[in-house]
Amino acid sequence: MDPITFSIIRHRLFRVVEEAVITLKHVSGSAITNEGHDLMVSLYQADGSLLMGGVGFLHHLTSAAEACKAIIRRFGGQIAEGDMFLLNDPYTAALHTSDIYLVSPIHHGGKLVAWSACFVHVSDIGAMNPGGFAPDAQDIFTEGFSSPGIKIIDRGELQQDLWDTILNMVRSPEMVALDLRSMIACNNVARERMLALIDKYGTKTVDEACAALIDQSEVKLRERLRELPNGHWQSRQYLEVKGEIYKVLLTMTKHDDTLTFDFTGSSPQSKYSVNCSKWASLGGLFAPLFPLLCYDIVWNEGAIRPIEMIAPEGTIVNCTRPAPVSVATVGAIQSVNNAACSAIGKMLAASDKYADEATAVWHANHFAIFMFGNNQRGRLAIGILTETFAGAGGARTFGDGVDIGGEIPNPISRMANVETIEAQFPIRYLFRRKLTDSGGPGKFRGGAGGEMAIVAHDAPDGGIHYVLSGKGPRFPQSDGLCGGYPGSVNDYVWVHAPQDGHNTDRFAQTLNAIPGEDEPISWGVFPLMGDDALYVRWNGGGGIGDPLDRASEKVMADVTTGHISKAAASEVYGVVESAGTIDQSATDAKRSELRRARLVAGPVQ
């Protein structure tokens, strides 16, 4: 077809997705969607394969394709114009039960021509714990409502009985209804815009353009892979739940124009809900692959074809039903994200042409803190602290990582303003800021993570509760690259206020200044009552290169801005300061001493 028509249709497909995302955000009323951007919208071909991947959490692009295919298998000839289907079963396609897919067939002239699919993390799904992340769950049956596919809209008519049944199973039916309606609106917009595109150019031309687009992505990715060196690269991620340590081990092999991700050697599946299913792992590895290898290639079925995944059944990356998976998105899926990001970063760093595209691991350790309880207006409030989406950039081969810089798997992630959260929940922030010594040291430093503390405020019940889960605070996970250090660890501290009620600093500005007894926590349901405080810090990005190669002036600037401590400047970067300026001769001597110390250890035994 002529290249101009092809280009116009290609851009129209981008715009269809973009407008659908805007619709989703405008209709949704939850901070996790319209502030944190925990969402996704994409277009799929008539057979369910990915046509145009959208933004949001990218591990949903392939999983939603599987959702479309599952609906096709289940409903076969009963898929009609105006239908919409709901699917959230992790063992069919979804990542966890609270990430609901709404998929919508698009018919033109009575013929199925495409699908639109979207997801949001709904306010609640009726799991053991409010908000969907269920650290107390022991199996999938305790993780809330779970459907392998139901027709929720039949030929344009909302199925009120199903709708009422779903809302009857969740704690916050008004918010979940709004979540579902935002997805219905999103799919309606996507369908209308797709039909307008087909009306203008005709089914045959649009089909040809879509087929060409998919072939183009495959050709381009295979060409890129052929330009990269052959080899294999390993990465390893640790996570911890209640004293039990798990690992995700990846061996990524690149041969000619193919890439294989082999997770053999990963831990057996857990009794805790950090596991993920096969489809979730596949999505997890594509989340960094799309932006790192396909930054100029359309994310579609063509970019999936050169990729193979091996995920042994019964492991934490391919668990078997009925293992619990509700924490997967901040558990094993993110470990897969991180491992893939690390291995791809190593492969890119091995290439003269693509070294500038390499990155250390970004924000590797989400924390899921879902607040729940009556708010200052006496209404039940359930929602996430969106700081988990704030992230931190990994270093690049030419520069530092971006402070509070988001994350690789979600190019549009961000956090809500403090005031937004304070308006939603009966809490008050004591502080929220960048965290010193959080970016992984290196010639190029990882971006800073953050820290924050909250207390109850104006709470009718004297406070509120929260569900805490994730991969734990015990291991650094934002790996460095080529000699760079990892970003810092997460930390969660419950500060128990003094029982006598004295010495309560209502405006403490550091963890140490908050009066009371510190208790490290990481998993479960906790109260935030009275004058107690919750302190949270999140990891920085990984560094790249030897920290002793970092320019002394940059190290001193980092001290001035609070990115690093004086101790780190001296002991990690080897920079000696005297009267506020760099003592260059002492710095040279210190750096030589630190290099010699590495040699004392001697060769590997």
Binding site: P229, T436, F475, S488, R595, R596
Partner: protein, 89 residues
């Protein structure tokens, strides 16, 4: 002819070499970490560590045995083997 295999390593004359001083480490197309100088630092001892870090986890630092430049790092528990990165030549 030099072939880059990472930011800190290249291959020349059939050997993997330190990018800083060209010291030969291992035959091309093989693992090189056994030839590096290894020092380990407990993650709990790094600046910015948290209150609840796993005491056994370390940062393995693989340095050039000649110039001391860091070639690679990895986070590891003591019982876990080195990560293997091999670039074909």
């Amino acid at each position: 002819m030099k072939q880059r295999i990472s930011e800190t390593l290249f291959v020349e004359g059939g050997k993997i070499r330190c990018a800083s001083c060209a010291h030969p480490l291992a035959p091309a197309g093989t693992g090189w970490k056994q030839a590096a100088a290894l020092s380990t630092v407990p993650v709990a001892a790094l600046p910015g560590t948290g209150s609840n870090v796993e005491p056994r986890v370390v940062l393995r630092r693989f340095a050039c045995p000649q110039c001391g430049n860091l070639l690679d790092t990895e986070t590891a528990l003591p019982e876990d083997p080195f990560l293997e990165d091999v670039v074909a030549v």
